[in-house]
C-alpha cells in the first residue's frame, strides 16, 4: 500500500485504460475466492457436497438405473428405444396397447430376434413384481432361503434364489421393488425441495427487500400482513384442499409455497434496513441510480450472505414437509414414489422392517448431507471465521 502514487499531470499523455484481464469463464471476486477456499477447507461439508451431488445427479437419471423397460432393443434388425418411445405390443406380435417387456413371452420374442439392453435394476417405481417367492411385502432376496425361492426359480429352470430376479431391499406391500422406489423417491424429494426452496427464496428475498428498502408504511403494513398470514394453519388448509382435489406435484408445491416464502423475509428485511444507510448506498443515490439498481447491485449482495446461510435449512425443511405430508397421506397422489409413503408402509407393516429402516436411513443420509453442506456454506460466508 503505497501512498506515494505519482500524481499524473494533466499535460501528460491521456491515460489509457488497461484491457480487462480475462481469467477463465467465471471471474471470482477475491471475496468469493476466499469464501470458496473456506468452503473447501471444511472437509466434511466439501465431501458431503460431492457425495450429495453424485447421488442427486445419479437420481436424475433414475430411468436409466431402475426401469421395467429395456434401454435399447434390437428387434429384427431395427433399433428401438423403449425408454423414450412407447411401442405397442403389436410390434412384438402381441395385442396390448403398451408393451410389458417383463412379460416372459415378449422377453423370449426379443431374445430370439435380437437383443435387449436393460438398466441395472429391472423394476420401475410402479412395477409390481409378479414372481415373488413369498407374499408381499417380501424381504430382500438375500434373506430368503433356497427353499422359498425354488417354486419361482423352477419356472425358469433354476433351483434357488440365485436364479430369480433379486429385490435387493425387498418389496413393499404391493410387491414393488424398494430400490427402485428409493431412487425415484429421492429424486422427487430433492427436486421438490429445490424448487420449493428456490421459489420461496426468490419471493421471500423480493418481499424482504421491498420492506427493508422502503421502510415506513410499506414495512409496517407488510409486516402485519405477514403476521396474519402465518397465523393460518397450513396443515389444515392442505387437508381441506386434498379432500376436494387430488393434490398433484405442482398443486402441492403451490400450496406449500403460499406459506413457506415468509421464512426469509425477516432476515432479508433486516439486512436491507441496515444496509440502506451505508455510505456507498448513499453515494449511489447521489450518483442518480434508480432504486431498483441500488437494490440489486448494492444491497442484494449484502442480503445474499444471510440468504445463502438459510437456504440449505429451508431446503431441508421443504423436503421434510413433503415427507411428512406423504407419511400422513396428504401428499403426492397414490402410487407416486415417495419416501414418506415408504415410512408409512413401514409403520403399517412392522413385520417388514426393511421398509421403515430403508426409508429412515435414506432420509437421514439426505438431510445430514444437506445440513453439512449448509454448515460449510454458512462458515464460508462468515467473515470472522478463521481457518487454521
Amino acid at each position: 500500500m503505497n501512498e506515494n502514487v505519482p500524481v499524473a499531470s494533466p499535460a501528460a499523455n491521456a491515460p489509457v485504460a488497461p484491457p480487462l484481464p480475462r481469467e477463465g469463464f467465471i471471474r471470482l471476486s477475491p471475496l468469493n475466492r476466499r469464501r470458496f477456499q473456506n468452503f473447501k477447507a471444511n472437509r466434511r461439508g466439501y465431501w458431503s457436497f460431492w457425495i450429495f451431488m453424485v447421488l442427486f445427479v445419479l437420481s436424475l437419471f433414475a430411468e436409466f438405473i431402475a426401469n421395467d423397460k429395456p434401454l435399447l432393443v434390437s428387434y429384427k434388425g431395427e433399433l428401438l428405444y423403449p425408454v423414450f418411445v412407447e411401442y405397442p405390443e403389436e410390434k412384438f406380435g402381441g395385442f396390448l396397447a403398451q408393451t410389458d417387456y417383463r412379460d416372459p413371452v415378449i422377453a423370449k420374442e426379443i431374445a430370439e430376434n435380437g437383443w435387449a439392453l436393460w438398466a441395472p435394476v429391472h423394476f420401475s417405481y410402479n412395477t409390481h413384481n409378479l414372481d415373488l417367492p413369498v407374499p408381499a411385502p417380501a424381504p430382500p432376496t438375500w434373506m430368503l432361503t433356497d427353499e422359498q425361492c425354488r417354486p419361482i426359480a423352477e419356472r425358469t429352470g433354476g433351483t434357488g434364489c440365485r436364479d430369480i430376479e433379486w429385490n435387493w431391499l425387498g418389496t413393499d406391500d404391493q410387491g414393488r421393488d424398494v430400490v427402485a422406489r428409493l431412487i425415484y423417491g429421492f429424486r422427487i424429494s430433492v427436486l421438490f425441495g429445490l424448487i420449493l426452496a428456490g421459489i420461496s427464496s426468490v419471493i421471500g428475498v423480493l418481499a424482504g427487500a421491498i420492506q427493508g428498502y422502503f421502510g415506513g408504511w410499506v414495512d409496517l403494513l407488510f409486516q402485519r400482513f405477514i403476521e396474519v398470514w402465518t397465523a393460518i394453519p397450513a396443515l389444515y388448509l392442505l387437508i381441506i384442499i386434498s379432500a376436494i382435489i387430488t393434490p398433484s406435484f405442482f398443486v402441492l408445491l403451490g400450496i406449500l409455497l403460499l406459506f413457506s416464502w415468509v421464512s426469509l423475509v425477516g432476515v432479508v428485511r433486516a439486512e436491507f434496513l441496515r444496509a440502506r444507510n451505508f455510505e456507498y448506498v448513499r453515494a449511489a443515490r447521489a450518483l442518480g441510480l434508480s432504486n431498483v439498481t441500488i437494490m440489486f447491485k448494492h444491497l442484494l449482495p449484502n442480503a445474499m450472505v444471510a440468504t445463502l446461510t438459510f437456504l440449505p435449512f429451508i431446503l431441508n425443511g421443504s423436503i421434510t414437509t413433503l415427507t411428512s405430508l406423504d407419511f400422513l397421506g396428504f401428499g403426492l397422489p397414490p402410487g407416486s414414489p415417495s419416501l414418506g409413503e415408504m415410512l408409512a408402509q413401514g409403520k403399517a407393516n412392522l413385520q417388514a422392517p426393511w421398509l421403515g429402516l430403508t426409508g429412515f436411513f435414506v432420509i437421514a443420509l439426505m438431510l445430514s448431507l444437506l445440513i453439512f453442506v449448509g454448515e460449510a456454506v454458512r462458515d464460508a460466508f462468515d467473515p470472522r471465521k478463521t481457518f487454521q
Binding site: M1, A17, P30, R282, G288
Partner: protein, 542 residues
C-alpha cells in the same frame, strides 16, 4: 527508580490469515518507568494498537502469535503468564481505555453497575462500599452530578461523558499503568481537549504510568514525556518528546511532522457565477410520543440556514458533531427531505421528484467521510467509478467508459492500471482518492465534501487537501466542505460557516474568522483545535 515498570523487549506479533503468517509487529522494544507517559505514534496499520494489546494479551489468539519477545511487568513475564495470572493483572495493575466509548461500555448496564463490577471483582467490596467508591471515581473524572448519573445507561451520556466513565472504570483499582488506545479520536475537538486535560491531571495526582497510543502528533506534544514512532511494525525512532520534535532523525518522523495541511484556499474571481444558493433551509425531525405517535416537538437538525456557493469557491462548514452540518449537506443534495428553496444552477431542485432530479445529479456530487464504508467491497474500482456514467451518460460504449474511468483515476493520482482491483487492496488515502474519482468522473460543477479527511491518517490528510485544491483549480469546481477539523478547513475554505445546534453562530470570509473570531463558541473551538486547550468559558457543552 532504575527498574522500569513495564519493559517490552524484542516483541513480535504475527497474524495467521489464509494460511500465511503476517508480521504485524516486528521486534519492538520500549520501556515505561513509573509515572511516565510514553506515546506510540504511527499511521493506522503500523502495529501500535497491536503492540499495546499484546501487553494485556487481548489479541485474538490463536490467530495471533508471538514469535519472539518478552513483556516484563514488575519483573513478571506477561507473555508466558497463564490466564489466571493475566486476569489478576488486567483491570487491576494495568487497565485500558479504548477508542470508541460507545462500544466499549455495555449498553444494557447502568454506569454504577459497570464500575461497581470491577471493584467487587478485584477488591471484594460490598455493594455500599462499591457505591461510595464509584461516586468518588466519577467526581474524580469530573462527571458533573455524579449521584444522579449513577443509574444512567451509556446511551444517555454524551461521547465525552462516556469516555470519562471509561476512564473512571480504568482508574477504579488505582492501576500502575494505564493504556490509552486513541482515547480521543472518536470525540469532538473541544471534548478531546477536556479529556486530555483530565488525563494529564489524573496522571499527576495518582502517579501512574501511561502508554498513550495516537496518530496525532499534536496530542503527543501535549501529553507525553517520551515518544516511539512506529512504521510498518517497527519502532523507527524514539526519544523524549522535546528531542524528537526539535530534531527528528528518521525521514518518516520528519514527514509526519511536516504533514500538517498547509497553504490557503484558491482565490475566487469576484464575478464568479453562483452555483448553489439555498436557504433558509430547515430540517426538522419530529419527536413522536405516546400510543397515537403524536408529534410533541421537533429535533431541529438544521434550523434556517442559508448558503451560497460560487464557482471555484469553497464554503467550509464547521461545528461539533450533532451541530447539523452533515444534515445541511444532505439537504442541499436532496438526500434528506427539507423545507426551503434550494437553487442549483438557476433551477429550483427542492420541489423536484427523485426521477426529475436524476439528470442534475451529474453536476451535484458528494464525497463521504469514511473511505472504507463509501466504496462497495463487492465491486472493482472501475465498476465503482463508472457507476454514475451508466446512469448519467448512457450513450458511452464500454471502451469509452473505461477511458473516462482511467482519466478520472489519473486525475486523482491513482494508477489507471489498477482499475480492476478491489477496494480492499487500497489504503485509506487511496480509497478516498477513488471516492473522489467517482465524483469527478461525471464532471460535476459542485461537490459536497463531508469530512473527507477525518478518517484518514495525518500524513494522508495533507495529500488529500492538496489534491482537492488542485482539482478545484483545474476544473473550476465549487466545494462545500464539511469538517470539524479546523486545520483542514483553514487550508481549503474561502468562506466559513460555524454551526451549533442547527443554527449559524458565525459566518464570514475565512481569513476574517480565523484571525478574529467574534463569538465565544468559535474561540473555544479554535483553542481546542489549534492548541488542544480546554475551554474555560463554558461556551461548549460536553
Amino acid at each position: 527508580m532504575t527498574e522500569p515498570l513495564l519493559s517490552v523487549q524484542d516483541l513480535s506479533v504475527a497474524f495467521r490469515q489464509d494460511g500465511r503468517e503476517m508480521l504485524a509487529v516486528d521486534h519492538v522494544s520500549f520501556d515505561i518507568k513509573a509515572g511516565e507517559t510514553v506515546a506510540l505514534v504511527g499511521e493506522s496499520g503500523s502495529g501500535k494498537s497491536v503492540s499495546a494489546l499484546s501487553v494485556l494479551k487481548l489479541l485474538p489468539y490463536p490467530a495471533a502469535s508471538h514469535p519472539s519477545g518478552r513483556i516484563l511487568f514488575k519483573g513478571q513475564d506477561l507473555l508466558t503468564a497463564d490466564e489466571n495470572a493475566m486476569r489478576r493483572v488486567r483491570g487491576n495493575d494495568i487497565t485500558m481505555v479504548f477508542q470508541e466509548p460507545m462500544t466499549s461500555l455495555n449498553p444494557l448496564h447502568t454506569i454504577e453497575r459497570q464500575i461497581g463490577e470491577i471493584l467487587k471483582l478485584h477488591r471484594g467490596l460490598s455493594d455500599r462500599a462499591a457505591r461510595t467508591r464509584t461516586l468518588e471515581l466519577l467526581s474524580l473524572v469530573g462527571l458533573r452530578d455524579a449521584e444522579s448519573r449513577l443509574n444512567a445507561y451509556p446511551h444517555q451520556l454524551s461521547g465525552g461523558q462516556r469516555q470519562r466513565v471509561m476512564i473512571a472504570m480504568s482508574l477504579a483499582n488505582e492501576p500502575d499503568l494505564l493504556i490509552a488506545d486513541e482515547p480521543t479520536t472518536a470525540l469532538d475537538v473541544t471534548v478531546q481537549a477536556q479529556i486530555l486535560k483530565l488525563l494529564a491531571e489524573l496522571k499527576g495526582r495518582l502517579n501512574m504510568a501511561m502508554l498513550f497510543i495516537t496518530h496525532d502528533l499534536g496530542i503527543v506534544r501535549k501529553v507525553a514525556d517520551r515518544v516511539c514512532v512506529m512504521l510498518k511494525g517497527r519502532i523507527v525512532e524514539h526519544g523524549t518528546v522535546a528531542e524528537v520534535f526539535r530534531n527528528p532523525q528518521h525521514p518518516y518522523t520528519q514527514k509526519l511532522l511536516a504533514a500538517e495541511p498547509k497553504g490557503r484556499a484558491n482565490p475566487v474571481a469576484t464575478d464568479a457565477p453562483t452555483i448553489v444558493e439555498a436557504g433558509p433551509i430547515k430540517v426538522w425531525f419530529p419527536i413522536k410520543r405516546g400510543f397515537m405517535r403524536k408529534t410533541v416537538g421537533h429535533v431541529k437538525a438544521v434550523d434556517g440556514i442559508s448558503v451560497r456557493v460560487r464557482q471555484g469557491e469553497t464554503v467550509g462548514v464547521v461545528g461539533e458533531s450533532g451541530s447539523g452540518k452533515t444534515t445541511l449537506g444532505l439537504a442541499i443534495l436532496r438526500l434528506v427531505s427539507s423545507e426551503g428553496p434550494v437553487v442549483f444552477l438557476g433551477n429550483r431542485i427542492d420541489t423536484l421528484g427523485s426521477r426529475e432530479i436524476r439528470p442534475m445529479r451529474k453536476d451535484l456530487q458528494v464525497v463521504f467521510q469514511d473511505p472504507y464504508g463509501s466504496l462497495s467491497p463487492r465491486l472493482s474500482v472501475a465498476e465503482i467509478v463508472e457507476e454514475g456514467l451508466l446512469v448519467q451518460n448512457r450513450g458511452l460504449s464500454y471502451d469509452d467508459r473505461r477511458a473516462v474511468v482511467a482519466r478520472a483515476l489519473a486525475d486523482v493520482g491513482i494508477d489507471p492500471a489498477t482499475m480492476d482491483r478491489y477496494p480492499h487492496e487500497f489504503s485509506g488515502g487511496q480509497r478516498q482518492r477513488i471516492a473522489i474519482a467517482r465524483a469527478v468522473a461525471l464532471e460535476p460543477r459542485f461537490i459536497m465534501l463531508d469530512e473527507p479527511t477525518s478518517a484518514l491518517d495525518m500524513s494522508v490528510q495533507a495529500q488529500i487537501v492538496e489534491l482537492l485544491r488542485d482539482l478545484q483549480k483545474r476544473r473550476n469546481l465549487a466545494y462545500m466542505f464539511i469538517s470539524h477539523d479546523l486545520k483542514v478547513v483553514r487550508a481549503l475554505a474561502n468562506h466559513v460557516i460555524v454551526m451549533q445546534n442547527g443554527k449559524v453562530v458565525e459566518e464570514g470570509a475565512a481569513e476574517a474568522i480565523f484571525s478574529r473570531p467574534q463569538t465565544d463558541y468559535t474561540r473555544a473551538l479554535f483553542a481546542a483545535a489549534f492548541n488542544l486547550e480546554a475551554d474555560s468559558l463554558n461556551a461548549v457543552r460536553e
